[in-house]
């Protein structure tokens, strides 16, 4: 796979570039996988055109409790746009990933996403098409909404380019809408967010670091708040999901499933169950124990690293941290972060401070329904050695758990008793981490 190829980002660029990706942090080896996850960021002040390519195909992933029995999935993979359909099939067919890449766009830019349907290796009889539905987007035409029954779908071996010009900043999600009951559960899901024009700076607000602003500036702003109240130093995209084995095993074995029997066994963040959620963003440079490798039965059990997105939240004390949450499961989830107060500043790509009325709120519990998004800010507390702690390659840290309140979703079906499921850690480090340059960046 040549994902590393055209993905080099130069920080602080003034000129307009067409294709960019997250770069490498100053210290430590930021997983190159991070580069591949993020979308493309234009650097110039005028609206620019951003293009990226995704393929849709099948593959396998690993969940605790299913050792030796990979879980069959569908998903999206980001690919080099210069490859032909034949080249894409040769490189990616049957090697999908879950969850799909975090897509990072700028408000008012023109976005072109080319989707290529590579077909399913495990199910050559299943001739499903695929689409991209940018969930929550105020679409100017059904053609780009991705609902097959009211527009078009992409059949096997074909590609279609979707167009968006996002005018609303905030956090959204995207997924396939072809037979969505099945395809969404099978794993064709991801987070997409739109950064506000305010990231370019205003008379009174510093330009965001991710647009080339000063090192003292916030990494970005969640919304065009006009007063910097949604500024953040680090942001993390976390997609909530469930896994129901009947769809996955059934699709693998050509067995029918009754969707209204839905009753999931596993609960994931970014496609991983705890403790997988703590592993860094995948990268070929990582040692094997820090990667999630899954044997692919359709390729002689060669290893696929098909769960690239970490859910680990690594921060410095005092950091303003933005959680971009979205739920593409079919159940409501109640998420908590005991010990740290959470401020909900946005929901469904809508700033709660709009129109001069402050509807933002502090809470201990986030109740996120299917198809909903939340923007949550918290300030990382000071490091306190007497609090629960751990240490890793980046040093000592205080640990806080971002977890589902429902204890039945904190275990891994089939695994020995112990913590699992829909939880991850917020690690507040005693010695400073490098500044974040890309969403959900992890440090090893």
């Amino acid at each position: 796979m040549n994902e590393g190829a055209a993905m080099e980002r130069q920080k602080g660029l003034a000129r307009r570039d067409f294709l960019k990706a997250a770069g490498l942090g100053a210290a430590g080896a930021v997983a190159v996988g991070a580069a591949l996850r993020s979308g493309l960021v234009g650097s110039a002040s005028a609206a620019s055109t951003t293009a990226l390519s995704l393929v849709a195909t099948d593959g396998y992933m690993s969940l605790p409790g299913r050792e030796g029995d990979p879980v069959y999935i569908f998903g999206f993979v980001r690919v080099d746009p210069t490859l032909t359909v034949d080249q894409l099939e040769a490189a990616y067919k049957g090697h999908t990933k879950h969850t799909a890449p975090h897509l990072n766009f700028r408000q008012d830019d023109d976005i072109k996403i080319t989707l290529t349907n590579l077909g399913l290796v495990q199910r050559p009889d299943l001739t499903d098409s695929h689409t991209i539905h940018w969930h929550g987007f105020d679409v100017p035409s059904p053609l780009n909404d991705g609902v097959p029954e009211v527009s078009v779908a992409v059949p096997i071996g074909k590609q279609v380019t979707y167009f968006y010009r996002p005018h609303r900043e905030g956090t959204y999600m995207y997924h396939c809408h072809f037979e969505d009951v099945e395809h969404v559960q099978m794993g064709m899901t991801g987070i997409v967010f739109v950064r506000p024009l305010q990231d370019m700076g205003t008379a009174s607000l510093a330009k965001a670091r991710q647009e080339g602003g000063a090192d003292t500036a916030p990494l970005g702003y969640a919304y065009n708040d006009g007063n910097g109240s949604t500024a953040y130093d680090r942001h993390f995209a976390i997609l909530l999901n469930e896994v129901w084995k009947h769809f996955h095993d059934g699709d693998r074995d050509i067995q029918e499933s009754i969707a209204t029997d839905y009753n999931p066994q596993w609960f994931t963040l970014n496609g991983r169950c705890y403790p997988q959620t703590l592993l860094p963003n995948d990268s070929p440079s990582l040692p094997e124990p820090m990667r999630i490798g899954t044997p692919n039965a359709n390729y002689g059990n060669a290893t696929d690293y098909s769960q690239p997105n970490s859910a680990l939240i690594q921060v410095n004390p005092g950091d303003r941290v933005l959680l971009r949450l979205a739920n593409l499961g079919y159940q409501q989830h109640s998420m908590q972060l005991p010990g740290i107060s959470m401020k909900v500043i946005g929901q469904d790509a809508s700033w709660l401070g709009k129109d001069g009325v402050d509807k933002t709120y502090l809470t201990n519990t986030l109740y996120v329904g299917p198809g909903e998004a939340r923007d949550v800010l918290f300030t990382a507390p000071a490091y306190d050695a007497s609090r629960p702690s751990g240490s890793d390659t980046m040093g000592a840290y205080n640990v806080y758990r971002f977890k589902n309140r429902d204890w039945r979703r904190l275990s891994n079906f089939g695994a020995p008793p112990g913590p699992g499921g829909m939880q991850t850690e917020v690690r507040v480090y005693s010695s400073a981490l490098p500044a974040q340059s890309d969403v959900s960046q992890t440090y090893v």
Partner: protein
Amino acid sequence: MSEQATARRGKKSTMTHKMWRLGTVLALTAGSLIAVAGHGSALPLGAPKVGMVCTPGTVNGTAHTFNLETKTGYIETPDGNSVFMWSYDNPGVDNGHFQSPGPVLCATEGQTIEVNLTNHLAEPTSVVFPGQQDVTWTGGTAGLLTTEAAANGGTVTYRFTATNAGTYLYESGSDVAKQVEMGLYGALVIRPSLGANFAYGASTTQFDPSREYLALLADIDPFLHHAVEIGATYDFNSRDNRYFTINGRSFPDTIQDNGSGLLPNQPYGALVRIQPNSPSNPQPGLIRMVNAGVDNHPFHPHGNHTTQIAQDGRLMTAPGGAPAFTEHFGETIGAGQTEDFLLRWDDQDHWDPGTNPLPVPPPNYRDVTFKDSNTWYSGSPYLGYKGTLPAGTTTQNICGEWYFPWHSHALNEFTNFDEGFGGMGTLLRVDPPGGCFTAAASTAILSGVLKSGSASALAVDDTNYYQVNPRTTTRPTATTAGQTTITVASTAGFPTTPGYYIRIDNEVLQVTAGQGTTTWTVARGQLGTAAASHLSGATITGLANDWYGSFSGVRAGSTNLKVTYKGKNCQATSGTTCPTFTGAAAPQQTVKICNWTALGAANCATAASPGWVTLPTPGGGLGPAQPQTVGSTDVSSTWTLPGSASQYIGTGAYNGQVRVLIHTQRWTGPSPTPFSTWGNLLALVYDAP
């Protein structure tokens, strides 16, 4: 789960969703009224086809009385199932036709609401009104939550003052785990005293009353219903929902009209229709959402955010009174809650195929599929435009409108048992601004001859004109001042009914007989001109130009036609410039529309045929009086024909055709010079069914 349930479990399921019912069902959507004679629905008279249907009740001073009775019946699901239900119905409408859900009760703030309940069930029942205060009762017997009506004919009357405007639920207060599951629920809407076009007593809640929608959500376990149906043990703890409804129907039944004859026991549709926000369409639509189910439901509108303004009948307000509305593309409504949303469709980028095309052109059809060869897509991404679709693709699209699904995002609820794209879903239909639009597809000249141009010149207001000259012929011999019979070289292009005017030199004559032949009987010296003699070979010019534009594809059931004609007349019959009229008055223009029903299909065949009705139509049209004087500057006029347009839409061989005649005649003499009629735009806007 009961034994019956196990037996049912073996039902065949499928990965691909079935559209088998869709084609049949949707093909009938086009008709304005499903023709089911007599007994067909439980709707009050005058109920709209789309949108919330209010049960009016009886108003007496400040008292507003509704009668409800409980009954049993069956509802249908799109996968071919039927489910036994209990419900309330309105005994005063259609002999108390069974309906699910119960009638929508609409009243006004401040009224004293009285609900008379008659119970035909074999067990006691009642009604509770969550959110209403100080409910009192007459009759009945005490129950756990409220006073009940006894089984098999018992009655009770409830009374309360509708103190607060808003959207509310009413439901059974007896043995609720069974009775509410079985379907004893309905919506109660209290309108503010501020007006029926406000949701609450605040100006920020103003909405377009023709865009008011109810979405009453419910979930159904058919095995529990079957247990009640056969008198088996009812174990609510075994509840396992298989059907998910909006207004008592599952998708795609939700998009059928209110009162659809296909769903006689489920009178309420859930299609939402909106047009883009504009200065002429400034008010939003209102969505009143009620969750009568047992589960929370995360509702996801595609296409645009909705603005939540209220919850449980209370406006969302910040301290100090400013509105605290929030916007959503996903909102979980809890069991028993109500939420109100305003819906606007804003066209931000004004994409247009001519002036502002999408940066990515529509895909080549070789690269896409249309699912099940059946689509709501028009073939064009632009609002109001239809494109081509591959041969063999059935389209449900009427005139380039857009469709977006609205559905539960617990996608296991977006199913009919095991078939996807069903259940708790409906469609948002975005209509082109002002309605469907069509330009004249073809033209025909009834009196005259083509000077230049074609029907396509009439499609857009621009510098292309459809130009018609008067018909001319010649006199083969000289004419005396007194003769009343003349021969002409050719009658082609002249009207085939008598009474039309011709001009020779400066004299206007009227042909009273012999039309269609080359020997005409004429009356001399008409319209203020003087009879005179004319040389052999003199040119005879028809005094009027008559041509019609024909529109096609206008569906039966379309309403609110608006005819727009923009054109001018030029004092020349050749050349490309348009000389101004000098001397005598400019021509008089009369625009007429063909009424097909007057005398059959041939009744608009000539300019003088009786089927042509002058606009505005007598007794109820709108638009400028006619005839109008139209000179060499474009004059644009629009006539509106409100309501049904059935007499103007052709049937049979003329199916879907609308014809508009442009009759232009130079009135007075002397020396009325020949002129050509230049048509710029001939367009029709209408509301498709």
